[in-house]
């Protein structure tokens, strides 16, 4: 049941709005919605604008935060977040260390899976956006710390890095990890990827660097074909302690 301040997706025939349940009104292309009407409703229920147009309620999922959360830069793509989850086997028993938080999209995904997440963001102005996004996602198990991740002293099952990486980050990650735990380092450039591999190979028992090329298959009346756009996003190096 929806409570005050919950983030909600409202889906009309053509448009979708990301709103907050509670006080206030919201103007759509089909008329005005009273946001207080959302409180007490559930996924699948409808509310109507003052013109009688219906909007169906969806409870946002991590995928929606990728689309609607406030961004501080380009976040990791879901396909790359999925690779980190899969190649580390992230699960509800895990304590996860994440840096740098960025828009907190990865932290929101991880917070929905792991027991707890500690995420470090160096820039105070970014960290406040992170906290807002994580709060919107309704996650209580994600802690945003401001500063340098190298100050972290905790013990973790998984360390995830999406920052300008140095050998110190690899050594620190190794020290933070439980035996059998994983470091997953995301690096868009080959040079940083080489830094990760070269440093990790002397420390970890297993180091594998993955690259994925993702395409969409488009199917229209003209025919079916891979979309002409493909993203190189980055390399993900997965290292096991």
């Amino acid at each position: 049941m929806i409570e005050e301040n919950d983030r909600i997706l409202l889906c009309g025939r053509k448009r979708e709005y990301f709103v907050t349940a509670g006080e206030g009104r919201f103007s759509t292309d089909k008329g005005i919605l009273e946001l207080s009407e959302l409180v007490g409703k559930n996924a699948g229920d409808e509310i109507k604008t003052h013109l009688g147009d219906p909007f169906r309620i969806k409870i946002p999922r991590p995928t929606d935060f990728f689309s609607y959360a406030k961004r501080t830069g380009a976040p990791m793509l879901p396909k790359d977040i999925g690779l980190v989850i899969a190649y580390t086997g992230m699960n509800h028993k895990d304590r996860v260390l994440d840096a740098g938080t960025g828009s907190a999209i990865a932290a929101i995904y991880f917070g929905g899976i792991a027991e707890s997440v500690v995420t470090w963001e160096q820039r105070e102005e970014f960290a406040s956006v992170c906290r807002k996004n994580i709060n919107d996602a309704g996650l209580c198990n994600v802690e945003v710390k401001t500063g340098d991740v190298l100050e972290e002293k905790g013990v973790f099952d998984i360390v995830h890095h999406d920052l300008t990486i140095t050998p110190e980050h690899i050594v620190h990650a190794f020290e933070c990890l439980k035996p059998g735990g994983y470091l997953a380092a995301y690096t868009p450039f080959l040079e940083h990827t080489f830094t990760v591999i070269d440093t990790a190979e002397d420390l970890f028992t297993e180091v594998v660097c993955h690259e994925t090329i993702g395409r969409e298959l488009t199917r229209t009346k003209r025919g079916t074909r891979p979309s002409t756009r493909v993203c190189h996003s980055g390399y993900i190096t997965v290292c096991r302690k």
Copy 2:
């Protein structure tokens, strides 16, 4: 702390063994291990063979079940399981429907993330392997049902299909899903992929078909290059209700 019947990874200098804590002995290339010594120990502890060679204890993760679980056929690759998790935003609030179970690798990944998983396997002899693998993974929230998934009457946040798909499976998935929920259908062949897209487009609000090409970057003394092996595994069509 390790209990009797827990599955454990024992890591020697060059070899790794997947054993069960409790009664019995286990022969390695470095001598014999008493498996009862594992009980009460923790990740990172060591036990020694009768020849004094140490083996370090790791608690297995979903990634290890991909490597060590008994297989009934080719399981989905971790990269594809990761895509399903990411593009559906799977998290600890979710009830997941999974079919067909196969070796239960996907079900083990999902069980470590979601609130609960119901997984359907048509062949009784496969289902018993699934139950064994899921039990080894220590998961209590995954139920294996034997029979045709179309008999399932529950309500779910996510439906995942890895079977020879028909339009009926798509319609049934739609009916099982909560508003805002996702179907993710894995299909190795284009013809089945077309079936999924064509049926789903009349039902779901959003249908996107993904293909990923995964490569490893290999780095040796000779130089760095993408590995010459690449896997087409299959298409993943993600449909939102």
Copy 3:
């Protein structure tokens, strides 16, 4: 030595111009050039604008026609033209049948390699652009025919199709080919690709369908990485008689 009416590339410090040697003047960002000065010069020579700015002469190559020829639609990409050449082993002994001509980029590449090329373009207004482009490329061994390629009665070493393909095109290509000759059919959509494969497999001794994903590696001060843009262009099915 450059003759009147030869097409010429003029390369300034930042800009390149595609001009015709002979009468007339040409305005650049650096002043005016007298095009009659080009006649009698050679690749590598310079001419100057009325302001004294030098432009170096290059003799255009097929790659330049891809950039500068007048287009009637999206031409085949060089990487795909290269695949056709390589998988058919196109060489100076070959008689090549090409359809549809489009902007004649493929025909210009083939004309520079083969003994002769016959290329069919259905639309008269396109055919006249083709003839102009082929003439600009200085090729005397490429004949543009207007109409339906199925009317062609000649015998060829290679047939190349880049048009909306039907089973009749495949059967006709088989009939036109010498024993040991090749059909290469370019199809952007899977449905047309299936038509090619299914029809060809009953006729030809060897049918292989290729897809290539082309990426550029970009190297800047920030680092090296694959460009984030990748093109699916189409499938090339190569069939040997």
Copy 4:
């Protein structure tokens, strides 16, 4: 018309043989062939074994030399040779410099297209295999030189390198090229690719590094899908003078 010593492909129902027209006999799975019978025949004609089984005559094309020529190592793949041809716009007016020759597969392709090819192979024992393969291909415009390509003093439209490359090779290639000409350097490893790009960018007007991922689409009764094997072969850096 086939002459004595011409290389010929003989195609039976299931097998193909690469033979030399002229004296001698050749044993097949279907009986013995008299190779002198080939002289005077043409592509498409048949000869029969002593058991009466027919074999159809094909005149070998560059693609056949990729399959049947004697190899001294792994040759460049046709897709990569095609890229070199396409991105340099190789044609019958071109003088081409090629190094190292290897099995001469690239030199055979280039010789069938360009006016002339000079190809350098460092190892004398490899060079003799090259000469044999080029002779089998019936090419009179390809000269094999033994030694270090840096000794070459000629002027060329295209330089193609498939060897362990150094900055000296790039500088030398630049010096050998006509204005507007192209260097295409094939490098399997990233480190060598970086050497090419970094050296070339200070000399050439245009430097683009290409990578292609080639897949086959397989179509069987089970369905259609990309083949699960994909080759990273190497990077091709194309530099224009």
